[in-house]
């Protein structure tokens, strides 16, 4: 299953370790699908997920930069373990901001010099200051800006410095999706609520993403929305809060409320397609896939706000010399506009959108970033029409979405404990 999912570069593959995870010592790890071309040009190795490790991007980057690039796509946990234990196995690591603490703590990545980032000044305030606009909510948990700058004491913080822990680039908001053929369509930001995940009416037809650093927040947002419990800091729950949260969740599970958890985007698609689930945690590619199948899946805009994630590109501590320079070139290329426009067509945002805008049509920009109805049919990166004229992206514009962030995907201090509780929840 995992291997199969690994072969789908346009889907956001999460948490798939089973089929794709390499085993053994770090030096013995061997990835099944190396996309490479070796010659005298510098070669960089990029470890990450299928969200950004797409061959079209690699080819374009190689063409533009004149370097060799090897992609090592894998499941989130798999690549995180690799990156956190073997810095010599990669030059760049592309994953989520919630992995930064682990990597920084594991001391496998090195600070990135801002001076070497060509488009640093264009990066918007979402990553730099935590708010995309003055009225925006920062969001609980590890908002990327809190982990962006390398501090003088070796820690990560929001105080500006000359070095950063990651290059901000791809990001998006997540919520839950529901089948409007079964559940009455709600009003975005008004009636749509994370509390729906615990609505008794949907008993047996609910699923969560199988990731404690993600699904845990969906559960927490749902319990809070229904007034079942509150958190001192949802972004960093205590063991007691986890106990209470999982007591509630296990109770729901015992009553058959949850169909289960899903471990990949295709799995989540199948759950809703087959009718096993009518509402669940979702990623945007799954929603698009279901709509393409004719299933009216709505990607909710919860009134409590989104669960956001931010892609990060980290530089291996072992990357030096020519490879390091090539890695910087690749980071700068990512912010050069074309890649931002490319991933915009897949529903993702880039940290310097204005540069990407130059590579997008007016209609594309209006739909993907401004939340306006599509004035014409829009094609995805595969060349097929993915948006019909008149269609409106749920959640509105880029700004509106990121003004409503409830929590960021976060590896909490109670991460290990949450794993144990998660196991209890899953197997109940």
């Amino acid at each position: 299953m995992g291997k199969q999912n690994c072969d789908q570069p346009d889907r956001r593959e999460f948490l798939k370790t089973c089929g794709c995870m390499a085993a053994g010592t770090a030096t013995a790890l061997a990835f099944p699908g190396i996309i490479s071309a070796r010659d005298s040009k510098p070669t960089i190795r990029v470890v990450g997920t299928h969200v950004t490790l797409q061959d079209a991007l690699r080819q374009k980057a190689e063409q533009d930069l004149g370097i060799n690039i090897e992609f090592y796509p894998g499941g989130s946990a798999e690549v995180l373990l690799k990156a956190s234990t073997d810095p010599s196995s990669f030059d760049l690591y592309e994953q989520w901001s919630n992995s930064i603490n682990i990597l920084w703590q594991a001391n496998t990545i090195q600070p990135i010099s801002i001076n070497k980032l060509t488009y640093w000044d264009e990066i918007n305030n979402l990553t730099k200051k935590g708010r995309i606009s003055p009225n925006a909510r920062i969001g609980l948990g590890d908002a990327p800006y809190k982990l962006l700058y390398a501090q003088s004491d070796g820690s990560l913080g929001s105080d500006q410095s000359g070095e950063i822990s990651f290059l901000p680039y791809v990001h998006n908001t997540d919520s839950f999706g529901y089948n409007s053929a079964v559940i009455a369509k709600g009003v975005p930001y008004e009636t749509e609520s994370w509390g729906w995940l615990l609505d008794e009416r949907y008993n047996g037809k609910v699923a969560l993403v199988n990731a404690p650093t993600i699904g845990l927040f969906d559960a927490a947002l749902a319990t809070k929305a229904r007034g079942l419990m509150d958190f001192k800091d949802m972004g960093n729950m205590t063991r007691e809060e986890l106990d209470e949260l999982f007591k509630i969740m296990v109770d729901f599970k015992k009553r058959g409320h949850f169909r289960g958890v899903w471990s990949s985007v295709p799995h989540s698609v199948e759950l809703m397609r087959s009718g096993q689930v009518t509402i669940q945690s979702m990623f945007s590619p799954a929603v698009s896939a279901l709509n393409g199948m004719g299933i009216p899946c709505i990607y909710a805009a919860p009134k409590e706000g989104y669960r956001a994630w931010h892609g990060v590109m980290c530089l291996s501590r072992k990357s030096r010399g020519e490879r390091q320079e090539a890695a910087y070139a690749f980071m700068n290329w990512w912010l050069s506009g074309w890649p931002g426009a490319f991933i915009a067509r897949q529903g993702y945002y880039i940290s310097n959108p204005e540069r990407a805008r130059k590579h997008m049509s007016r209609a594309e920009w209006d739909y993907w970033y401004d939340g306006k109805p599509a004035s014409e049919a829009l094609r995805g990166t595969d060349g097929k029409i993915s948006v019909q004229p008149g269609e409106v992206r749920t959640g509105g514009s880029y700004t509106k979405r990121f003004e409503n962030i409830a929590v960021w995907n976060t590896v909490m201090d109670t991460y290990e404990y949450s794993l144990l509780k998660w196991n209890e929840f899953v197997l109940t």
Binding site: M1, G2, L15, T17, C18, G19, M21, A23, G24, T25, A77, L81, S84, T85, I102, Q105, A106, N107, G154, N210, A211, P212, R259, G260, V261, S263, D413, T414, Y415, E416, Y417, L419, L420, W422, N423, V426, L427
Partner: protein
């Protein structure tokens, strides 16, 4: 429905129909028992599957439990148990087929993913174990050894202050190991923070020691300790990540795979239970349906038997009853009874034919009886006729003898006279009397000739042909025209006279006798007229012969047809002509009679039957 069948076929059909229904009931029963048996086998199969399914679910749970034991306790036996359970489950899955394959394939995929993750977990845990219990301790010992070595040197060369600082570093190193081990025991991240804090503390103090120490060998030793410390920290951090890695595997990846396997096993179990319930319902339904069908078939069979019995019975008894009635009637000799129609070639058909034959025989018998009766009546009639003929013959003999005797007496009288005259010599006078004798003899001869002619009628020259009466009478008129003219008679013959089937000479004889009779007795001073004509009746031709003479008194109108009867003794003739005519008409099965009013002529009627053909010849 069965009317067209032979009797034995009806009986066969009845038995066959009942037999067919019986076989049908047997087949339905066989089919239903087959179904029930098949359902029972399915039910048994599903029971086995359900049992396997239960074992499967149990083993998945046990497998995850053993995996957790291995994860947290590191017992190799638990890991072996996981592999053992996986192999058992893989074998269990082989027992499924059909629709369950959909689930077993999914379960198999999840179990394989589970085992792949578990194998990685084993590797990660082994690596972590090595890092924690070998590398980490070795690094801790190495670092501590270097530190103690430094303490020894510092203790020998420097004052208590540095020695105290080094001792504090040593304490921090011990704290690192202690907190590190506490993290791996408790998985509480706060210990990582403490470990990291201790590393930071150690480095800070070492930097201070390094900066404040001018001895080259001590500085080198501190640098070595710094390297040891980096390695120590690196081992710790990797061990942390490996720990997190296998914790993620067992708590997130494997638990999800196990849950999916369990979920699908439960779905399969539900499906199996549903199928078992379906089979149970189907079996009960089948049994109920079969009960209904068999009951219905028995009722149908009963009614069929009754219906067939009625139909066959009626189809047999009704014709037999009808035939019985017919035979009863036929036994009375009747042939008027209609034989009931029965067109089937069977025993009743044979009886029906026999009845028809019986009826025909009755008819023939009756006809024979009728003929016998007719013959008896005819015999009686003939007897009367014979008696009458005998009387007539007696009369005839008397008449003939009387009338023949008369000329003979006359002749004998004249012969006596002649003899007397001769004796008296009165020869001339006697010769004169000879004429009288001759005449008397001639008359007797005439009488005898006429009697001969009379006797010939019916015996000689009596062949009948189709006669055109117009032609015959035309010739008759022509032949007697001179005689009529001499007698002063006019003969008128009507046209369009009928054709007759008769003997031409005898019919001509009748008309000649009637003409002779008219010429003798029917002269009319005002002009004698004879007319012949005809009149048609439904079954006869009536020919009339009419004169305008004096007529015949009523009392003589029958007598004139008697033998030797003459209306006047003065007229010539023997008195046999009309008797001959009557006999000719009788021979032709006809009649002759006369109607007459005195002085107004007489009309002789000749009646010929229209149907008197050849058969009358007898």
């Amino acid at each position: 429905m069965v009317g067209g069948l032979k009797l034995k076929h009806k009986i066969y059909a009845g038995y066959l129909s009942v037999g067919f229904v019986a076989v049908l009931i047997a087949l339905v029963s066989y089919y239903s028992f087959g179904n029930v048996s098949r359902n029972f086998r399915h039910f048994t199969d599903f029971s086995v599957k359900a049992q396997i399914d239960f074992q499967l679910a149990q083993r998945v749970s046990e497998m995850q439990r053993q995996a957790l034991i291995f994860t947290y306790e590191g017992h190799d036996s638990a890991a072996e148990q996981v592999h053992y359970l996986y192999n058992i489950m893989t074998e269990l899955i082989q027992h499924y087929s059909g629709e369950e394959l959909k689930y077993t394939n999914i379960i198999n995929i999840h179990l394989k993913s589970y085992m792949a993750a578990f194998e990685k977990l084993q590797q990660q845990r082994q690596l972590q174990h090595t890092l924690v219990y070998d590398d980490l301790r070795q690094a801790a010992s190495s670092t501590e050894s270097h530190l103690r070595s430094q303490i020894k040197q510092v203790y020998q060369k420097n004052g208590d202050k540095q020695r105290f600082e080094i001792q504090r570093v040593l304490n921090n190193l011990l704290l690192i190991e202690k907190n590190a081990m506490r993290y791996f025991d408790s998985l509480d991240q706060s210990f990582i923070v403490k470990v990291e804090g201790s590393f930071s503390e150690v480095r800070t103090r070492l930097r201070e020691l390094h900066g404040g120490n001018e001895q080259q060998d001590v500085r080198m030793l501190i640098t070595d300790i710094g390297r040891d410390l980096d390695k120590y920290e690196s081992i710790f951090l990797e061990a942390v990540q490996r720990t997190r890695g296998y914790l993620f595997l067992v708590n997130v990846v494997m638990s999800a795979e196990a849950y999916e396997a369990l979920y699908n096993a439960r779905q399969m179990s539900d499906q199996i239970k549903n199928k078992m319930a379906d089979i149970e319902r189907l079996t009960l339904s089948t049994l109920q349906s079969v009960s209904y069908i068999v009951a219905a078939a028995i009722v149908v069979a009963f009614f069929l038997i009754v219906l067939l019995s009625l139909l066959i019975g009626r189809s047999i008894t009704i014709p037999i009853v009808r035939l019985t009635t017919a035979f009863n009637t036929l036994s009375t000799g009747s042939h008027q009874e209609d034989i009931p129609a029965y067109n089937v070639d069977d025993e009743i058909g044979d009886l029906t034919k026999a009845a028809s034959i019986f009826k025909e025989k009755n008819r023939q018998t009756e006809e024979l009886l009728s003929q016998a009766k007719e013959m008896t009546e005819e015999l009686a009639s003939n007897k009367v006729e014979l008696e009458r003929s005998n009387d007539e013959l007696g009369q005839f003999v008397y008449t003939v003898s009387h009338d023949l005797k008369s000329p003979l007496v006359t002749s004998m009288g004249f012969i006596g006279i002649i003899q007397k005259l001769s004796k008296q010599g009165r020869l001339e006078e006697a010769i004169g009397k000879l004429d009288k004798v001759v005449k008397s003899n001639e008359r007797m001869g005439q009488l005898i000739n006429d009697l001969l002619e009379l006797s010939r009628v019916g015996r000689i020259d009596m062949d009948k042909v189709h006669l055109d009466l117009n032609e015959l009478l035309a010739r008759f008129h022509s032949a007697h025209s001179h005689q009529l003219e001499e007698a002063g008679f006019t003969l008128n013959i009507d046209a369009n006279l009928p054709q007759l089937y008769a003997n031409e000479s005898r019919i001509l004889q009748v008309f000649e006798n009637l003409l002779s009779n008219a010429l003798k007795y029917a002269s009319n001073p005002e002009g004698s007229i004879i007319s012949i004509g005809s009149k048609e009746q439904e079954d006869a031709h009536l020919i009339w012969f009419r004169d305008n003479g004096r007529g015949i008194p009523e009392e003589f109108q029958k007598k004139v047809f008697g033998l030797f009867y003459r209306l006047s003794a003065d007229t010539e003739g023997t008195g046999i002509g009309l008797a001959v005519a009557a006999k000719v008409m009788k021979f032709h099965h006809g009649e002759i009679w006369v109607e007459s009013t005195p002085e107004k002529g007489a009309t002789f009627w000749l009646r010929f039957n229209k149907h008197d053909k050849e058969d009358i010849h007898d």
